[in-house]
Amino acid sequence: MHEQPIRLSVNETPVTDSVEPRMTLADFLRDKCGLTGTHLGCEHGACGACTVLVDGDAVRSCLMFAIQADGLEVTTVEGIASPDGTLSPVQSALRECHGLQCGFCTPGFVTSLTALLRDNPDPTDDEIREGLSGNFCRCTGYQGIVAAAHRAAALGSVTQR
């Protein structure tokens, strides 16, 4: 009912579709774009699993309607690695440091950390913990994730040289 057209960029690919206004960006990415890497835990903004980048900024895709992304650029976890499959510094670091176990929350951590390190390339432990306070992980106990954030910062600074 009342579908409205939208046109946006998802992982640098133009997407044209029509959506019910009530469809969240998260459901749009998963059900209409087939990008099921964006996970839905709580669907009310608490868990952080659905975090994506909209015009480069990390946002909850469950707290935004797809129609609000009309004309914007969305990057999901599928768009973080290089097109040839080479992992980003954040992804490599999470693997190296045991920053994931079951992996459900990982897409949200990858996108949140990617945005966090872009804005603050060399964060302190406190800044990392505050920055990740909006993402739940029920497996790792977070120590590996915080270590991965430091490792990714180190990898990132090497990459940029």
Binding site: P21, T24, E43, G45, G48, R60, L63, I67, E130
Partner: protein
């Protein structure tokens, strides 16, 4: 956890938005950053036939010095407010409150005006607006009017704005003289709704007497509260003669409907609240005595 159906409107100007809101009446709701409204829709705590999206209106965004006040457009994101140098210098309490507003992913979409218009009793910006005597600018097809923060918060998630009015901007007094500011919160996880919290803005005269004091309270009622009795008790007193713990206790005396929920009982919340006020007072008064604020 899926919102019910609604029609979506994205007018190009704020004038069009208020006209549409007046036409559609109580079946319509303004959508700003959506970081409080969308969860309420998802949980079916709220239902509207129409959402009017104002999140892209450039005319609602911006931060401007206007005489002795700092104007912040209602649509300015919390991320922008928290990072802005003018805010840090002119209204340091807002800068310090911002890291407590949700998480950075929330602040990227959430707006200053959305937070204040939502009027959550645990919201940092509503309590800051109260403590600082901010002025709300609202617009309807009948024109513009101003509402003092003290007259703005009416009840649980309710304000004194009429149903056809939209909050377009907020003006905060620019800090003046020897002043100090502090935000203290206690929550299970950083960024969650605080069990209790306090914001203190204090100003001293040349003799170290308190000339102005605003104490905003979080999570200690159904509306953002201001601790009027405690404020009245400190005005005119010498800074050195005031005991933070007593101010904390005094700040709890006016409270009538401290919530009890899964996180905390009312009596525990009151204990925590008194401690948060004491800590905030201590930090703010020391900053004022030192003579300069550093955000």
């Amino acid at each position: 956890m899926k919102p019910a159906s609604f029609d979506y409107h994205r007018p190009d100007t704020i004038d069009d938005a208020v006209t549409l809101l007046a036409e559609l009446g109580d079946d319509a709701k303004i959508l700003a950053g959506g970081q409080s409204l969308v969860p309420m829709l998802a949980m079916r705590l709220a239902y509207f036939d129409h959402l009017i999206d104002i999140s892209r209106l450039a005319e609602l965004r911006g931060i401007e010095r206007r005489g002795h006040e700092l104007w912040i457009g209602a649509g300015t994101t919390e991320t922008t407010v928290g990072a802005d140098d003018q805010v840090r210098q002119a209204v340091p309490l807002l800068t310090r409150a911002t890291p407590f507003v949700g998480h950075f992913q929330i602040r990227n979409r959430g707006t200053l005006g959305g937070s204040i218009a939502h009027a959550d009793a645990a919201g940092e910006y509503p309590a800051a607006a109260l403590a600082l005597d901010a002025v709300m600018e609202v617009l309807s097809p009948r024109g513009r009017r101003e509402i003092a923060a003290a007259d703005f918060f009416a009840g649980l998630w309710e304000t004194t704005m009429d149903s056809d009015e939209v909050l377009t901007g907020v003006r905060f007094p620019v800090r003046d003289g020897r002043s100090g500011f502090s935000v203290q919160e206690f929550s299970r996880r950083h960024g969650d709704f605080a069990i209790a919290g306090a914001l203190v803005a204090v100003q001293l005269d040349g003799d170290d007497r308190v000339s102005r004091c605003g104490i905003g309270l979080l999570g200690l009622g159904s509306v953002p509260e201001r601790a009027a009795a405690a404020e009245g008790a400190v005005i005119g007193k010498l800074a050195d003669e005031l005991a933070p713990q007593e101010i904390g206790r005094a700040a709890m005396t006016d409270l009538e409907d401290v919530p009890t929920d899964l996180q905390a009982s009312a009596s525990y919340r009151t204990e925590v609240g008194a401690t948060m006020v004491a800590r905030a007072w201590n930090e703010a008064i020391n900053e004022a005595l030192a003579g300069a604020a550093h955000a």
